[in-house]
């Protein structure tokens, strides 16, 4: 089918029709959840080789045999495809789906720890209703009545906050909000780089272009932790593996706190925080002035290199070296990440980095365009702090009277200055769709316990699609942990809600059926939709079973047209002088593990030593050895870190990978709720961030906070591996001459290992 026909046939209108907007039927709120009517056509004997829906686990249980189900990881917005290994009807291991272009059969530590979220002993398994100021357990009937009372009607003052959302969840949430007559939908997720994505959209016309790491001979990353927490770490990790084959690409990482990616760099460059844009412009200017540079130069690049060196703390010699590398190692890829963009001038920094890519001819080489999506409503919405602020402001000024939160924990993540608790308390009704008793959930009036991602039907799109049109299929891999009727899927509840207001949704009595119908209607728009495989199977059955077996489908997309980048104007501010009181920059660092705090309830991830400092459980502050010496601090001392917005008490780890004027406190801990593994462990640096926002996008300038440090206690007299609150897996910094990790030069490597 030609693209034209396809688009005619599947215009947005017909797509919505596929969602049932024009048909009628009947449905009850909250019934039939998780059940499906797919008939199992597969011989039990061959089942192990097939990947099938867990429609009726009893039917599938064969003692001693493992059964694999294809589904999707939801531990972060990357949404990798998984194979869940089950035994006797329970999931016991999660692996990557080898056929997936997103993660190529691989997973990250957080994906591996998904089991501990799913089986978490602190999961909510009964609805809760606030009575007399306290949340008490209730029946689903009570919860449903209350839910209908507040959400079963039109309400322009309803506000809805979700975490990163895509696929049919996004569609059904939007359908509900439209039906309810509310325009107040917000999406908030902490780590997707909202400033960078907005700059991409403006300069490249694509918020999320494709990156070809492998093709790059040189990657210069300004704080993009693509191996750790940046957008899609497994996808980029697999690309990195290729990138390091001979001929081996070079990685230069420029940031103030060493990330996991930084620790793998061939050259790690410590930069004064907030001056990444200045360095990028200085490099652009040096490149433009170099006689060996053949590319195009945007006018007016006249940076005083000496001044730039003083501002950034990067030597002139180093800048010259970078210039030479960028000119000679082409194509390259210059990235900007959260730590470069988290300032008042974040967008300007991202633009300066775009400028470098444009000059170096990387656009169209390592930065590639995407097709215009056939179904824009399925695309991922990654959200940002501007949405959170709008949500909180609206609650504070009374524009909203009912607040609903799903997949997001704003009361933990919002800095104190936002006064999120106060604003939240003002709503007349607060409703959480939640799996865990997190801070936000526990402040609600009605708590609806929802399925874990391993228990529900769904579709989603990866934050970064390696292949355009990649739509993930989620299916329950086992019966709900707490039994049928204890938790429900978000989709089922939403379907019930939307059909209260919009009769066209009554056509389905459960969300799984809705998704299957919708996918069936999308069939002509899919690349190689599965067909019947066995005799007696209809094509429709074959299709439904086939997509569950593969775990994703690919939507046909028009060919991408080349990127026409617009040269951005870059206006970098003069940086404020130190005011003396708050002499240090605070880096609220995200790490692969606890992420933005959502995985603090996994004991494996709490106990996983931090990749760089080796701290387990708890929080710490990283301080450079020179700074520690100046302040008279050693590892294990307790200090008070104060900003204009608040203070924290935390243990010191003397750490070499941090710029001398900066200190870093990792994100993830300091929960006041969130179950036994998280509550009361460590501190939460989000809380002391100060009110500064990116001027262009209104996103919180997460890295712009300045702090002071005062020592409050010495490390304990007895030196053990646990110093006060600090637990280190190992304090060893040096190999002491032993050959544990040996190194060779890339030159030798390339010479000897040839072309890969």
């Amino acid at each position: 089918m030609s693209q034209k026909n396809l688009n005619d046939e599947l215009s947005r209108r017909t797509f919505l029709k596929a969602m049932g907007l024009t048909s009628a039927g009947s449905a009850l709120l909250l019934t039939g959840c998780g059940d499906t009517d797919i008939v199992n056509q597969v011989d039990l004997e061959v089942r192990k080789e097939l990947v099938l829906p867990a429609v009726d686990p009893e039917d599938f249980v064969r003692p001693g045999r493992e059964v694999h189900y294809a589904s999707t990881c939801r531990q972060c917005p990357a949404n990798c495809n998984i194979h869940a290994k089950t035994r006797e009807g329970r999931v016991i291991k999660i692996e990557g789906n080898p056929a997936s272009s997103t993660n190529l059969g691989k997973l990250c530590a957080m994906g591996q720890a998904g089991l501990q979220g799913h089986y978490n002993p602190d999961r909510i398994n009964k609805p809760m209703i606030r009575k007399g100021g306290k949340l008490v357990e209730a029946t689903w009937a009570e919860a449903e009545t209350l839910l209908k009372k507040h959400l079963g009607k039109k309400n322009a003052k309803l506000a809805w906050l979700s975490g990163a959302i895509s696929g049919h969840q996004a569609v059904i949430t939007k359908a509900y909000m439209d039906a309810a007559g509310s325009k107040n939908s917000f999406v908030f997720d902490t780590l997707p780089p909202a400033v960078g994505l907005a700059a991409n959209e403006k300069v490249l016309g694509h918020a999320m272009p494709k990156y070809d790491f492998d093709k790059a001979k040189l990657i210069v990353s300004f704080g993009a932790d693509f191996l750790g927490t940046w957008i899609s770490p497994v996808q980029f990790g697999t690309q990195y593996g290729q990138f390091r084959n001979a001929p081996r690409g070079t990685l230069v990482q420029i940031e103030s706190k060493m990330t996991l990616t930084g620790s793998n760099a061939d050259r790690w460059i410590a930069i004064k925080p907030g001056t990444e844009g200045h360095l990028a412009l200085a490099l652009a200017s040096l490149i433009a002035a170099d006689s060996s540079f053949k590319g195009k130069t945007p006018a007016n690049l006249n940076v005083d290199i000496k001044e730039a060196s003083a501002i950034t703390g990067v030597s002139i010699e180093r800048m010259h070296k970078l210039r030479d590398m960028l000119i000679s190692q082409s194509p390259s890829l210059v990235l900007s990440g959260n730590s470069a963009e988290g300032f008042v001038h974040g967008t300007e920094t991202a633009n300066a980095i775009h400028l470098l890519n444009m000059m170096l001819g990387n656009i169209g080489e390592t930065i590639l365009p995407r097709a215009k999506p056939t179904f824009p409503e399925l695309q991922p919405q990654l959200g940002g702090w501007a949405d959170l602020k709008a949500f909180i402001d609206g609650l504070a000024d009374g524009s909203f009277d009912t607040a609903v939160v799903y997949g997001s924990n704003p009361l933990y993540q919002a800095p104190s200055f936002m006064k999120a608790e106060e604003a939240f308390a003002k709503a007349k009704m607060r409703i959480a769709f939640s799996t865990y008793p997190d801070e936000t959930t526990m402040a609600c009036d009605l708590v609806l316990p929802v399925h874990s991602y391993l228990e529900e039907w769904n579709t989603s799109m990866p934050a970064y699609a390696a292949e355009d049109g990649h739509l993930n299929i989620h299916q329950p891999v086992m019966n709900p942990v707490f039994g049928k009727g204890s938790t429900y899927s978000y989709g089922d509840i939403m379907l019930g809600l939307v059909s209260e207001l919009d009769a066209t949704f009554k056509n389905w009595d459960n969300y799984g059926a809705y998704i299957r119908d919708s996918l069936a209607t999308m069939k002509p728009a899919l690349v190689n939709p599965p067909k019947a495989t066995t005799a007696g199977q209809t094509d429709e059955e074959g299709f439904q079973q086939g997509i569950l077996a593969s775990g994703f489908v690919t939507i046909k997309e028009a060919a991408a047209s080349p990127i026409k980048a617009k040269v951005p104007a870059v206006r970098l501010p003069k940086l404020a002088e130190d005011d003396g009181k708050y002499a240090y920059h605070l880096v609220p660092s995200a790490r692969m593990g606890l992420y933005d705090g959502r995985h603090a309830n996994s004991p494996w991830l709490q106990e996983l030593p931090d990749q760089l400092t080796s701290v387990m459980w708890g929080s710490w502050v990283e301080i450079h050895p020179n700074t520690a010496k100046k302040l008279g601090l050693i590892t294990g001392d307790k200090v008070k870190v104060s900003s204009a917005a608040g203070s924290l008490e935390v243990d010191v780890v003397v750490f070499p990978g941090i710029q001398e004027d900066s200190i870093a406190i990792p994100l993830g801990n300091g929960h006041t709720e969130y179950g036994r593994y998280a509550k009361g462990v460590g501190v939460n640096p989000f809380k002391i961030l100060t009110p500064q926002f990116d001027e262009e996008t209104g996103e919180l300038a997460t890295h712009a906070t300045k702090v002071s440090i005062t020592k409050i206690a010495n490390r304990g007299e007895v030196v053990t591996r646990a110093h006060g609150d600090l637990v280190l897996a190992s304090e060893a910094m040096s190999q002491k001459g032993r050959e544990i990790v040996k190194s060779v030069s890339a030159e030798d490597f390339n010479h000897n290992e040839g072309e890969g």
Binding site: G237, V741, K742
Partner: protein, 284 residues
């Protein structure tokens, strides 16, 4: 196992090249050029092998149980001046990572010291641990040069709060207080693969790639290669061969460009894990 069988086993499998006659010898290769230190492997191992988190306090006493850990250093061994931390305030060449777990030594120092032969060598080259024979003397742990044996000071598995116990892998046991444990190269997966072959009437050969260890399977960068070193066609034996590491030596003579080495090889413990040199672009 009677004492005489035990001694027989010990003397046979500790001969210099006992594996000459065995069809399978499991081995591994870890490429430090690719390993990013992300610890996906560590978590995958925890999930596969029923490894408990012991909590903050016990971590503080050094009681962690993870069979795999990522060693992280900031300097190079002596004699690699180009790649060591330069004269800088910062570690500008990044960190040095090495995933470390039981090296399945073929002259394992942990084996002969066990008073009850709870740790012994199996014909597939694995350093096996028999939990129900272990009396917890911990001699083996003391003797391990890699410090990769972990002792159950408590009954962690009894404290798993419901429903977390449901994630346990039924293919292997949970260990109770008083026994030593360590990486097994996912022996339950190996047994399964061998069993599948035996079902087809094939003994002594497992097709390369038919079985993966949990760490290997999860590793995003494909830094870990695992397989049968006795199978000349396997990826792992190619890796060993092309990187100049041979069994039955306590010193390797890498030809130019061969990056292979075994940690603490000079101790003559004959590890089954080969590492490949970390690489840095010294022109950067």
């Amino acid at each position: 196992m009677s004492l005489s069988r035990m001694l027989e086993n010990w003397s046979r499998l500790n001969q210099k090249d006992y594996y000459k006659d065995e069809p399978i010898m499991w081995g591994m290769s870890i490429d430090l050029n690719k390993c990013t230190g992300c610890a996906s492997c560590v978590t995958a191992c925890n999930a596969e092998n029923n490894i408990p988190a012991v909590g903050k306090e016990k971590c503080g006493s050094g009681h962690t149980m993870s069979w795999m850990r990522i060693e992280r250093y900031w300097d190079s061994p002596e004699g690699e001046p180009d790649l060591a931390v330069e004269e800088s305030e910062y570690p500008e060449r990044g960190a040095h990572f090495a995933p470390m777990m039981c090296q399945q030594c073929n002259h394992a120092p942990c084996e002969p010291v066990c008073p009850v032969a709870a740790t012994y060598h199996n014909p597939d080259g694995l350093n096996a641990q028999v939990y129900n024979r272990c009396i917890g003397s911990r001699y083996c742990g003391t003797n391990c040069p890699f410090k990769v044996r972990y002792f159950n000071f408590f009954d962690y598995q009894e404290d798993i709060p419901h429903p977390m116990e449901m994630l346990l892998n039924p293919d292997l046991t949970v260990r109770s207080k008083g026994v030593m444990e360590k990486c097994t190269f996912c022996v339950q997966r190996l047994r399964n693969a061998k069993g599948d072959q035996a079902d087809k009437g094939i003994r002594g050969h497992v097709e390369d790639g038919a079985v993966q260890t949990a760490c290997q399977q999860s590793c995003p960068t494909d830094a870990i290669v695992f397989g049968n070193l006795k199978d000349g066609e396997s990826k792992v034996s190619h890796a060993w061969e092309s990187h100049g590491v041979e069994l039955n030596r306590h010193e390797q003579f890498n030809a130019e460009g061969e990056r292979g080495y075994r940690v603490f090889e000079e101790l003559n413990v004959e590890p089954s894990v080969m590492y490949l040199d970390r690489v840095r672009d010294t022109n950067a």
